[in-house]
Subunit: 359 residues, 2 copies
DNA sequence: ATCGCGTGATTAATCGTTTAATCATGCGAT
DNA sequence: ATCGCATGATTAAACGATTAATCACGCGAT
């Protein structure tokens, strides 16, 4: 779209100088007298001049656009990510081009290619489960989990898991069921691992993976949580608010009140977490921070890229970094019910058996 | 980012022809012999040639990029919209640049400007509540509700409301409470209106707007639904799944089982609607269809735009169209409890006052 | 007086593609 | 034999900005 706005030469002509001078003045690069700069700035503003990205891109090889690739754009966490990235990018003067890589890995690859073909200056990729991003020809920042090797920016999912775990432990829970979707996801594994890590001797944790279960029982099938309660589980630590919601409604439906009879926690602090009853206790990642780091790394890589004419491969990458998660305590997790430790495990942790009695 | 790929001239040189011929062959525009076209196609493919968007954009004034402006990117419906638009756009050869207009109207205006400044060929805008989009200098498709005047593509929210209403009425409900967020939203108003429209004489509906309520009672406050049940309401028709979720958890928590003692319906079919207990009955809009229409209209407007050199104003627009919604029947709505019609309204008006007694 | 140099601004080339205008050529019709 | 014309390909001029190279000029130092 050729914007209506005036061109560079228009300003130049208006002031009787050359286009080069105007360009220099506006970018502060060449040698231009202070007063000239002032005059040019003024008329540029007055005329509402906006440089043509196309012209600039052609000359400089920079489009000022970042690509954002998402594993499944329909992911409920997506809004947070996109919003944060867009904000960070636009305040650094970059635009954000999106691409959905729904479906399999090949779709992800194609999405990346589409973006590259559109000459993005860099990419932010939230990879599909277990995907490793191949070297594309431009700077890439991957948002996944710190345990993923290489150029990754991520929330400290493991640490978040620990926080949830500590919280539950502090409340007095000894038997907790971790509920996740798929163990192939690095993020989910880290979260689950973090939770498990705080429950040592004398405690018991088990993990329920939904996807495999649904393979046999059908999509949207009951998770069998009331039975778990009967088995002595008092807390359900879900790897995502989505699962927490599912668990919570299933329990309440069965007359098992949350948090009186069972505690439920989530992850991500999705938009509805605060408004359900009981409001959900969860762990949130600091997307603003993550996005800021990812974009900053990208911008840095992009600007450093220029000198190296030979753009062979050289997928400049963001540094690895780890952003802490925040525990959001609300009402869905509380102390386990009074007469609870009927089913305490016998084995390894005898101590356990002792510890968890009486009201 | 100057892609590694070969330039147009590279192909030209390889075959010993001029760049113009290659361009013509690839675009099928000028006069090129069939065999030449074939040869050029072949080597282009072989060399992995991808045209430079920058070069093309500069010459043609077309960037091949559409802008997507969202009222609140954090809106849970956003993923569906973005995904659908991206798909439609990319299969028409367009890229999608996003901009978040969170916050007030002025932010929305700025977001639009940012996009325009980046030379998008067209815009898809999901406006903030009650916003009217000013004439920007490029084709615009607005996704809102059919009752919004001018160039709009939208789901038939009113019709969706009617479907929900009919469903509830068919189930035997006579007193239904409509729950929405804010009456200033065209979409919400239409949905509510559609629901109301099916309940005539002998029925009673009332509407609860959450936002005003929270102004005084605080965010996340209880909606007081158990009291409403006591007043004789048997169905809660929520304007969004978000509200439905809130209603459902509040009711279940109070021991009012859904759908046995009260029915709950939503709108939008958000991702978790099928997995909660009971699974949510809701009305879904056909985003794929809506996106396809919006993008098609935009693409048409863009291509027709060229001849008209004078690009003064002329905000070419999408035609108004209305896409039907789909009722998704699941478990959260059923017939009202047996001994229920104690409180059946007598006359339209008085009924209200009377209606609200006895448990 | 001249050389050198710093300053402020201009020239001109370039990025890669498109496209109107031009040119060369061969062939059928007058 | 020549004119006209269709065909196939080439030339060259944009598009709008950036930037290396160049230029004009005045001033202080030799």
């Amino acid at each position: 779209m050729a914007r209506s706005g005036p061109k560079l030469t228009r300003i130049a002509r208006t002031l009787g100088v050359s286009a080069a001078t105007v360009s220099n003045a506006l970018s502060g690069k060449g040698r231009v007298s202070a007063e000239m700069v002032e005059k040019i700035r003024a008329t540029a503003a007055e005329l509402g001049y906006v440089p043509s990205q196309a012209g600039r891109a052609l000359r400089t090889g920079r489009t000022g656009v970042l690509g954002l690739v998402l594993p499944d754009i329909a992911n409920p966490l997506f809004p947070q990510i996109a919003q944060a990235i867009e904000l960070a990018a636009s305040s650094s003067g970059y635009g954000v081009l999106i691409a959905d890589s729904r479906g399999d890995v090949s779709t992800q690859t194609k999405a990346i290619e589409r973006l590259i073909d559109r000459d993005v200056d860099g990419l932010v990729i939230v990879p599909r489960r277990g995907t490793r991003i191949a070297d594309v020809g431009c700077p890439v920042a991957v948002i996944d989990t710190p345990s993923t090797p290489g150029n990754t920016v991520a929330a400290d999912h493991w640490g978040g898991g620990r926080q949830i775990g500590e919280h539950l432990k502090g409340l007095g829970h000894r038997r907790v069921l971790i509920i996740g979707n798929n163990p192939a996801s690095n993020v989910q594994n880290d979260r689950a691992g973090g939770i498990r890590s705080v429950f040592g001797e004398g405690y018991h944790t088990d993990t329920l993976w939904i996807e495999p279960l649904e393979k046999v029982a059908g999509k949207g099938c009951p998770l069998g949580l009331p039975e778990k309660v009967a088995e002595g589980y008092t807390a359900f630590a879900c790897i995502s608010d989505l699962h927490a919601l599912r668990a919570l409604t299933e329990l309440q439906r069965a007359g098992i009140n949350v948090p009186e009879k069972a505690s439920v926690t989530g992850f991500d602090d999705l938009i509805w977490a605060p408004v359900i009853t009981p409001a959900l206790t969860t762990a949130r990642m600091d997307m603003t921070e993550i996005a800021a780091i990812a974009v900053a790394a990208l911008v840095k890589a992009i600007s450093e890229r220029d000198p190296s004419d030979p753009e062979i491969g050289a997928p400049v990458t963001a540094e690895t970094s780890k952003v802490p998660m925040h525990l959001v305590v609300r009402q869905s997790a509380a102390a386990p019910p009074a007469g609870y430790p009927i089913h305490t495990p016998i084995t390894a942790a005898t101590s356990v058996t002792e510890g968890g009695h009486q009201p």
